[in-house]
Amino acid sequence: MSFQAIDLFTLLPELVVLITACTVLVVDLYLPADRKDANQLITFAGLVLALLAVGVVGLSFGPEPTLAFGGAFVRDPLSDLLKGAVLVVTLLAFAYSARYMRERNMWVGEFHVLVLFALLGILVMISANGFLTIYLGLELLALCLYALVAFNRDSGAGAEAAMKYFVLGALGSGMLLYGISMIYGATGELGFAPVAQAMSADGAESRILVFGLVFVIIGIAFKFGAVPFHMWIPDVYQGAPAPVALFLSSAPKVAAFAMAVRILVDALAGLGSDWSDILIILSVLSMGIGNVVAIAQSNIKRMLGYSTISHVGFIFLGLLAGTHEGYVAAMFYAVVYALMAAGAFGVLVMLSHQGFEAENLDDLKGLGDRDPWLAAMMTLVMFSMAGVPPLVGFMAKLLVLQAVIDIGLVWLAVVAVVFSIVGAFYYLRVVKMIYFDKPVSDAPVDSTRDARIAVSVNGLSMLVLGMFPAALLSLCEAAFAG
């Protein structure tokens, strides 16, 4: 139980992120206003170091789970892969956002600090091995996100979005806490492994547990944005500054996935038949409402919001299968979705410029003429979201559907396919606007080097991961091998 020095080594990625955030916080004080780019350099260096740290820690401990801090912290292949994915997405987010934030006088140290602390919260959630730790990580993440959504202080829409997000997020956290207190009441434990043990030892008091489970799932669905707890997503995506929406739509979804796996699979596996029924309802509603309502949107940020909701439905499909293949598929989907969302919002960020927000579908018209490379990348991302082979989105959908069919829920797979065809409409509409419509403006597109590299890596990764999914897939397999 007592603290050992080796615990700090397992915690290395988190420590690197924490130290980077604090360094930026202090250095920012002494930087003159025209040298704020140094923040970006420190952040990049810290994120790359954290990626290395994930690799070093992962290689030195191998596939066996490592516990630290008296079982509060766990490092296993699942946490290594998810941490790596989140760090890569955060690197992309910073690369995209430099010009946008600079032009709007938001290129200040607090932006880096808050995103880094949000990242720290995600890392804590991914490695949490108990309800207390996961809740603290969640609050750390949520607090940073509330502030980031309201980051543009002169924007009324931003303040409104932050307020909605804050109230609903607090409600979701409250639900989650209430559920956790029920589970604690029934089992007397807060760690995931002890809860699972207590449940298998005396599974009798299931009424309290199911009551708690319902509230915990409501909390998880709030954080994911699954229907019927999705109301905040479109408003928040629309009101937040585009780089914040980019970060918000990608990395926290991976965190929500980690939270769902840790709580539902690690701790509450004994209630598997109960939670998989609830997830079926959430999943069908999310796919349906997300895809159908997205068609009616003319604001592309809102459209991507509803698209998030529908993708969450697909991630739930993998989870509810409750099989090894299902978890692998859901994890693959979550990681790939984070990349796709980062790419789609990244292009929007690059299209915005001084005094102009690219947020309507019409703003994409004629992008093929204005900037062929950016248009090609956006097309790759859109095709991938629609699930067109050979892009990675197809692979992700295929794996999830396979997992659902394997447990005999063919009707659910059919529903999913129907809704993804409905969804293909609005993704392809974007592609049509890019290539076949006349441009309405010919404003220059972001051509800074960092953003160019980021969008190229992001778009081409759709193609490469789609054609050679084996590497990522084997990592996902390893995560659930235990």
Binding site: A68, G70, F117, L132, T133, L136, F211
Partner: protein, 217 residues
């Protein structure tokens, strides 16, 4: 045991009464004061189960700091009670139905069958010299070290976020700078002698003679 039980029922009744008043009072300041009462009586309940530290913290932090802040905010805001009340009446039936269903559910789950004394016997009384503050402190800095540090980071983030969202330079704000005020010299800053030409006194204004129409009316 008998007297403790009596105390428990007294404080429990006060808590429930105060909580009810919080929800039903029209005046928000009264509601906040009843909330303070609810906190104090639940602190007494903590004391009864030998959780002195939690009881004291509840009084110090919630009653002492949070509720005072809350009171400030409530007094500063101009809350339109009648508008709130009309909404309240409109949604009352739906709210009552949901509340009744929740209450029924809660009773099923939290009722004596699951959480009664048979499932959770009351803990053994601790020996006289036992300090649960010391035990809590030890646990917090050893077993829960990791969680404690995360909580510290959350507080840091709260500070950063609050400053980012509220601190800004407003050029048109009128504010006093004491340093400049002290540096003011008598010479050209405070007193300025203006030489003005002497003006002739104006002639006295004569009352206008009454007109024909006014005299007629």
């Amino acid at each position: 045991m008998g007297f403790e039980k009596f105390l428990f029922y007294v404080f429990a009744a006060i808590t429930v009464f105060a909580a009810g008043m919080v929800v039903t009072r029209r005046n928000p300041v009264q509601a906040v004061l009843y909330l303070v009462l609810a906190f104090v009586s639940s602190a007494a309940l903590w004391l009864l189960i030998e959780a002195e530290f939690l009881g004291i913290v509840l009084v110090l932090v919630y009653v002492g700091a949070v509720m005072v802040l809350f009171l400030f905010v409530v007094m500063m805001l101009d809350i339109d009670i009648t508008a709130l009340q009309s909404q309240f009446i409109k949604h009352l039936p739906l709210g009552l139905v949901i509340a009744a269903m929740m209450l029924f559910n809660l009773f099923l789950v939290l009722g004596p069958s699951n959480f009664g004394l048979s499932a959770f016997p009351s803990p053994e009384p601790k020996p006289a010299g036992y300090s649960n503050t010391a035990t809590l402190g030890l646990d917090l800095y050893t077993v829960y070290l990791y969680q404690f540090e995360i909580a510290a980071v959350i507080l840091l983030v709260a500070i950063i976020a609050a400053i980012r969202l509220t601190l800004r330079r407003r050029p048109q704000t009128k504010y006093q700078d004491p340093a400049r005020q002290v540096r003011v010299r008598k010479g050209p800053d405070r007193i300025r002698v203006v030489s003005m030409p002497a003006e002739p006194t104006p002639p006295p204004i004569m009352a206008a003679p009454r007109t024909e129409e006014e005299a007629a009316s």
